[in-house]
């Protein structure tokens, strides 16, 4: 289990810190069900992000599971269920 629940805002912050933000995308908008690829994040950006979340929130994430979680909603479910 994570030390505490990771929220969408937490994820937004980590994404910005690890991989920046695409200028065409409103990361603060309603993005829960938007594919990461449509938010401008490739698989490497997601590996970087998951690695940072592991460090910050004391959770262990499987790389394949991370890659298969293609939206913020799915990714947060993986993190908070781990």
């Amino acid at each position: 289990m994570t030390d505490r629940t990771v929220t969408l805002d937490d994820l937004r912050r980590v994404l910005r810190e690890c991989a920046g933000a695409d200028e065409q995308v409103d990361l603060d908008g309603d993005i829960l069900d938007t594919e990461f690829s449509n938010l401008g994040y490739d698989s490497l950006a997601m590996l970087e992000t998951s690695s940072r979340i592991e460090q910050e929130y004391g959770v262990k994430l499987d790389d394949d599971t991370v890659i298969s979680a293609t939206t913020p909603r799915a990714f947060l479910a993986v993190i908070n269920g781990a």
Binding site: A19, G20, D22, E48, S51
Partner: protein, 403 residues
């Protein structure tokens, strides 16, 4: 055979950020060599560097690119943006497989790599950035430029130390001749960080002077090594017919000739290959030495190497037979960025009919060189650029007016 034109230039140099600022400084003899500021160099034998001033990457690049790029890649991306804008190229309007990228590199992204190595040993492998997988890599500038501008044609990287920038442009010309209509080429380099510094000191060729006006003195009796710098130039090379077809209105000049050779081992009985590289480049351009208006020398500032270069020049052109200049006395040696920056200087010398100076140097008379100590006005149509890389690489390139 098709002609390869240079239609765009982007410059990031220690004595000027951007083509106009750099060229104005260069013609006026303004040096960018100063004490190292990118890290605390106190206690290191070498204290001076040529650092690109006033570069804030966030001003020029999207935030998506910042976590995944080394300092020198950011400089390269900005130089490429400027070169394409200078050439008035709209990369979205050209066929993606008709555009390639060939840059040179000498060390890759050392500053990024150092930080991740520190993360590895001090915190553990899970703290190493996923972007380390490519951010350190020799080919990273080529890859990032290719991705940013959607250029999917033939691409690559050349690694031959200081000769690499000319070798890359030569490879770009080969690709143009084989049918790629546009190739982004040149080189931007830099590893002014403790790890990079230690690696460079191992060459034994870094100046230990603390006086910026005394530290890098090629062809001077006081020569005692070079000052390292960062930066370089990116060039847009185009097939002349294709450039005309897309509506390009002008070009800086033509890549007219090239030769590359490799030196024998240091104690061999046969001579350096530099003279042969010059001969090959002149023959490739179809010209005789008299047609060369100025030579941009490599300028190692190591006695034995200066002697070889001066001899090759004097034998080719006659004693004091051609103006020779080393504008890199204002920037330090930029490794793979050095040759492309000299190509940019040569092309602007052609445009403006002026030879930029070699600063701070009192030429050793034994070298029999007409070393240009103050900017000199002259009709310039053809330039020879020389670059020599550590380990024996010699490259010579001829650029000339395209009209």
């Amino acid at each position: 055979m098709t002609r390869t034109l240079v239609t765009g230039l982007g410059v990031v140099a220690p004595n000027g950020l951007g083509l106009a600022q750099w060229w104005a400084a260069t013609v006026h003899g303004v040096s960018g060599i100063a004490p190292v500021s990118r890290f605390d160099a106190t206690g290191y034998p070498a204290q001076l560097a040529g650092e690109v001033p006033d570069f804030d990457p966030a001003v020029y690049l999207p935030s998506r690119l910042l976590p995944q790029t080394d300092h020198m890649t950011r400089l390269a991306l900005v130089a490429a943006d400027w070169a394409l804008a200078d050439a008035k190229v709209d990369s979205t309007a050209l066929p993606e497989f008709g555009m390639g990228v060939v840059t040179a590199s000498s060390s890759g992204g050392f500053e990024f790599g150092q930080r991740e190595l520190q993360n590895l040993w001090s915190r553990g492998s899970q703290y190493v950035s996923a972007y380390q997988s490519f951010a350190w890599f020799y080919a990273v500038n080529t890859g990032q430029i290719s991705i940013r501008h959607g250029m999917r044609g033939p691409s690559g990287v050349v690694v031959t130390d200081q000769a690499g920038g000319l070798d890359a442009v030569a490879q770009a010309r080969r690709l143009v001749r084989k049918g790629t209509q546009l190739v982004v080429s040149g080189g931007v380099d830099g590893s002014i960080c403790p790890w990079g510094w230690a690696a460079q000191m191992a060459s034994g060729r870094l100046s230990t002077s603390e006086d910026p006006s005394q530290a890098f003195l090629p062809f001077d009796a006081r020569a005692a090594g070079h000052v390292p710098g960062e930066g370089g130039a990116i060039l847009v090379l185009e097939d002349a017919e294709a450039a005309r077809a897309r509506g390009a209105s002008s070009a800086y000049g033509e890549i007219a000739g090239y030769g590359a050779t490799f030196d024998p081992e240091p104690d061999a009985e046969w001579p350096s290959g530099l003279r042969r590289a010059i001969d090959l480049a002149l023959a490739d351009a179809g010209i005789v030495p008299d047609e060369v208006d100025v030579v941009f020398a490599d300028g190692a500032a190591v006695g034995a190497l200066d002697r070889i270069e001066a001899k090759a020049i004097a034998e080719t052109f006659g004693p004091r037979g051609v103006p020779v200049t080393v504008p890199k006395t204002m920037t330090g040696r930029l490794y793979s960025g050095g040759g492309p920056l000299d190509l940019a200087a040569a092309l602007l010398a052609i445009r403006d009919d002026i030879i930029p100076p070699t600063v701070h140097v009192t030429p050793d008379a034994r070298y029999e060189l007409d070393l240009v100590g103050a900017a000199r006005e002259a009709v310039i149509r053809t330039c020879l650029v020389l670059a020599r890389g550590h380990g024996g690489h010699n490259a010579a390139m001829v650029v000339r007016a395209s009209n």
